[in-house]
């Protein structure tokens, strides 16, 4: 099962279990979404539970706020993370703050799913990684899966969570894992252990990272598409690295991070998003605050560049094997 199918399956599991779940967004109804994550939902659950929305991300999020206030549980799609900005005020000022400002009288249990990231020649409006804009906002939970198994389990957890969850889907790996070598064919998910997705209901807990590769020499902190790129890079460079897939950025699994860095003494942070004020800055700060006396070398970051996403220069922009190799060598040098 690929990640799209796993996410689709998660929708079917939660919608069958809870009649209050309503799915809507641009093209999600009859057609099933431009990436087909919501395919078949309208047929199975009817037009009023899975339907198309006007091209109005502000309206989509606001309608979800109203529905959540009514007592429904909206599970909405923003077609690309790059389109989320017209809905940003509703997310930041309303969704995130409603429980707090009403002292729990009104809560906003909703999931905002959105495909993020580059590597598909999507240009600057179909490639961004805006997760740090949301990790900075109190009241939101931010989740990024990296495998079909996690995608289904985390989405079910997100739907069942009492708090609003922004669910970033790494669209570069919707169809298969990606090792950063864009000139080589992508391996299908069927060759990856996490493509075995159980039927029915199961969850992957929010707030719990996964150690996807154990190692002694270095800790790599990463999430989403970059989990696969990082795994490939440490193998290619022959480094006994521990690779941690954060899976949830807020709330962060600090214990796993701290335990690993204290063990290895070295740390590399990898994400697709631009460097300045990216989530990596938060990770580096936490490691510095908590693990400073265990560190053998400065913590390094591998990130996208601080430019808008350039279409023709995509592979010069995207953090890939060369950038990782250079950073790995630097962290391991001392």
């Amino acid at each position: 099962m690929n990640m799209i199918q796993a996410l689709n399956d998660a929708h079917k599991v939660v919608m069958a279990a809870d009649e209050d779940i309503v799915v809507f967004g641009e093209d999600v109804g009859y057609f099933g979404g431009v990436f087909r994550v919501t395919e078949g939902l309208q047929k199975q659950f009817g037009k009023t539970r899975a339907f198309d929305a006007p091209i109005s991300e502000g309206g989509i999020v606001a309608a979800a706020v109203g529905m959540a206030a009514y007592g429904l549980k909206p599970l909405i799609e923003i077609q690309f993370a790059d389109y989320i900005y017209p809905g940003y005020d509703q997310i930041v000022s309303e969704v995130a703050k409603m429980r707090y400002r009403t002292a729990g009288e009104w809560t906003m249990p909703m999931v905002i799913r959105t495909p993020y990231g580059g590597g598909i020649f999507g240009g600057q409006t179909h490639s961004q990684s805006p997760e740090s804009l949301f990790t900075h906002i109190a009241g939101l939970k931010v989740v990024v899966p990296s495998t079909p198994y996690d995608a289904k389990g985390l989405l079910i957890s997100a739907v069942e969570d009492p708090d609003p969850v922004i669910f970033f889907e790494p669209k570069r790996i919707y169809n298969g894992p990606f090792d950063g070598h864009h000139d080589k064919p992508v391996k299908p998910w069927s060759k990856h252990p996490a493509s075995e997705v159980p039927e029915g209901h199961y969850t992957v807990p929010i707030g719990k990272a996964a150690v996807v590769r154990e190692g002694e020499a270095l800790t790599v902190l990463t999430y989403g598409t970059m989990v696969h790129v990082s795994l490939a890079a440490v193998e290619e460079n022959g480094i006994d690295a521990e690779v941690i897939d954060l899976r949830t950025l807020v709330p962060l699994d600090l214990a796993t991070i701290e335990g690993s860095v204290k063990k290895t003494g070295r740390c590399l942070v990898v994400h697709e998003a631009p460097r300045t004020s990216g989530f990596g800055a938060e990770l580096v700060s936490l490691v510095q605050e908590r693990c400073f006396y265990h560190l053998e070398a400065p913590v390094e970051r591998v990130t996208g560049w601080d430019t808008p996403y350039p279409h023709a220069y995509e592979w010069a922009y995207f953090p890939g094997p060369k950038r990782l190799k250079h950073a790995l060598e630097k962290v391991m040098a001392d």
Binding site: G66, M67, Y70, P251, L254
Partner: protein, 422 residues
Amino acid sequence: MSDRDPDLRRNAPKLQLHVPEPPFRPGDTPDFSSIQVPAAGEAPRPDSTAAAAETHSLATSLVRVLDDDAKAVGPWDPKLDADTLRKMLRDMVTVRVFDDRMYRAQRQGKTSFYMKCTGEEAIAVAAATAMDRDDMHFPTYRQQGLLISRGYPLVEMMNQIYSNRGDKLRGRQLPIMYSDKAHGFFSISGNLGTQFPQAVGWAMGAAIKGDSRIAMGWIGDGATAEGDFHSAMTFAAVYNVPVILATVNNQWAISSFSGIAGGERATFAQRGVGYGVASLRVDGNDALAVYAAVQWAAERARSNSGPTLIEFFTYRAEGHSTSDDPSGYRPTNEAKAWPLGDPIERLKSHLIALGEWDEQRQEALVAECDAAVRAAQKESERRGILPQQGNENIESMFEDVYAEVPWHIAEQRDASLREARD
């Protein structure tokens, strides 16, 4: 040679930017004679299930019921009984007295901020009266009359204004940004316009679940320029949502007049026409007209005939808030020149014309409301005023961010408690 060469364009006229200006500035004598005020009773009343297009002529006229002799006339007369009229009058007087007391409390330093709705009391009170008790409101900040009409305890409102120990919102919201689920009053946001499409979403939820309750969203004339206004209208029209969308055009958004929001060339009600939404423009200082319009729109929503946009045409008689000095941007006596009169005076005169009221009873009513507000204020102030707050129970500041307190917020809570002890 390019056609962008300035030499080739030397005979073209210079382009000009139009920046709207209100007709009067401080020092001018206000004269509202240019405002078209149709006679009461003139506007036709289509059936509430009529096609939206049948209402579109009402987007430029003005639905009015009370005439110059304070008599109810025309097809929009809701023919309310005297008890209902007296209840509305009492609620409107309570709002005005409450506003005056709380304004004064702010000036005395008991709270940080207050916003009066002087001159607009009929709008929220009559709308609340026309809606069912279990319908839902998504208000903006000048609809305190919704709560008062629904019998919300004045003490609770004041507790929220003082952010005191009795404040159910635990001191987290700006005064006047009330919230009360049980009274069908959604949490007010300082980011203007957000509540308008939320009302649509709530009503979509009601329609999805086959409920019979409807929602009403509220926005000011200034905030109609926000994208949220247009999202709300689009969603309301697309899904034929059982919602009433109200724009309170009180002519002023802090210091910017309604022309800056786009009200110079078309009425705000006319915006409904382009969306295919039923649209009414209503005399907001006429409690009977407000009641009739909301009742009509509610019937329309309940019968699945679609949403309604209502523009309540009124005037903000006071400053925007306690932080505003309107003498800096408009004539001081402008409110008195407003051609639609004072809503409380008009309803009172109507009841007197019906033989159901008199000046002595009005005086007694004002005194009674004043006593009730003073008593509530005394009781609320026993629970504290704003300057006394913020030192006890600091850990509560870290609750309700999430359902459970995550580790990073727990760490910060502990740090804040240490800081408070130092």
